[in-house]
Amino acid sequence: MSKIAHIKRRIKSVKNTRQITRAMQLVAASKMKRAQDRALAGRDYALLLARMLHAAVKRTDEITHPFMEDREVKKRGILLVSTDKGLCGALNSNLFRMLTDIEDDVDYYSIGRKGKQYLTRSGKNLVADFEVSDQVRFDEIRPILEELLNSYNEGKIDTVEIAFPRFINTMIQNPMIIKILPLVNLDEALALLKLKGEENTLDEEIDEREIKFEPDVATIIEELPKLYVKQEIYQFILSAKASEHSARMVAMKSATDNANNLVDDLTLKFNKARQAAITQEILEIAAATASTQQ
């Protein structure tokens, strides 16, 4: 009897857990949809911006912009975009594993509590940490951008890089480090934006004639890189959010599935045990009747 009661209790507790993971799965699924839509919507803008900058830079020699000058790298600046909450599979640990191998002199900036914990625990040089809500409003990102760009302009850091889980699709998120500043290799940056698996709706026209700039090159070159860098970082943070919710949705879905399997197994075990108990009882009664008749 005690065995049956024990199994019954386990079934109940697994069912409770299943209820929680399923609720989390549903919440993550709805957040995921929104985050993915936003990440995808902003992509065209970022891509077009990159393309314009690329076209502008390629066809003029008279460019000097502090963001585009190559400089000797004494200290790297890395913005680590992680999640605030756990239960999202291996998303964060895959990301952090990428950073453990870095031996250079690095100033870290972080978004998300998990990243902050990792950086302080592993004794890395965390300069500033930020928190960003699920909505990722632009005004939440602005202080981060300002901090990064100011440090870059003042020479405190010589690169601006961003480490984040890049959203490919619901099942796949690739952790990667992307260098944003200095903007020396635009071809590479453009290729990165057009990452495989992401269809792109903006096709490129080929026209080798000289481009005319209005009002003049200087104005365009002054404005574009700044806009580009800001949009780029914003876009990557959106991508990281989409990754987070996708990873959590998938993790919670498999937890729910596992709970289902466990409940099935336990129910089978419970039925067997119950049947065994009944058979046992019948045997006992039959034996008792048999002995009284004799």
Binding site: G42, D44, L48, M52, A55, R209, E214
Partner: protein
Amino acid sequence: MALRIQIVTPEGTLLDKEADTVVLPTANGDTGILEGHIPLITQLKRGQLVLETNGKEEQIAVDDGFAEVIGNHIAVLTEDAIDVDDIDLSAVEEAKKRAQAAYEEAKDNEIDPDELLKLDQKLQFLTMQELVKGGGEKH
């Protein structure tokens, strides 16, 4: 259908269609684009973008941004854009009041200048929508 025009905002691609002529509100004044225009990258000022297709005009209010003309392909990069036919003046009026209130409040509280600038831009874009819509209806 000589030209293809795309208007792209951070919220996605707003418009992607073909047109015969396009008039862009650039920093140097309105610039008309026809088939075979030389490659051009230009700064846009908040204003009215006009598409003409088969003699039919379509007006779109755009915010500050950039435009790229390469081949017969025009790509417009802007913070915000709206089809003039979709502008609902009463909604704009409401939005303007809200933006104005937010702007005044922000100014009193001395929040960071970037935020203020953004609010101001939003307000101006709304005002422009009103102007464009109002102007369109007189014809």
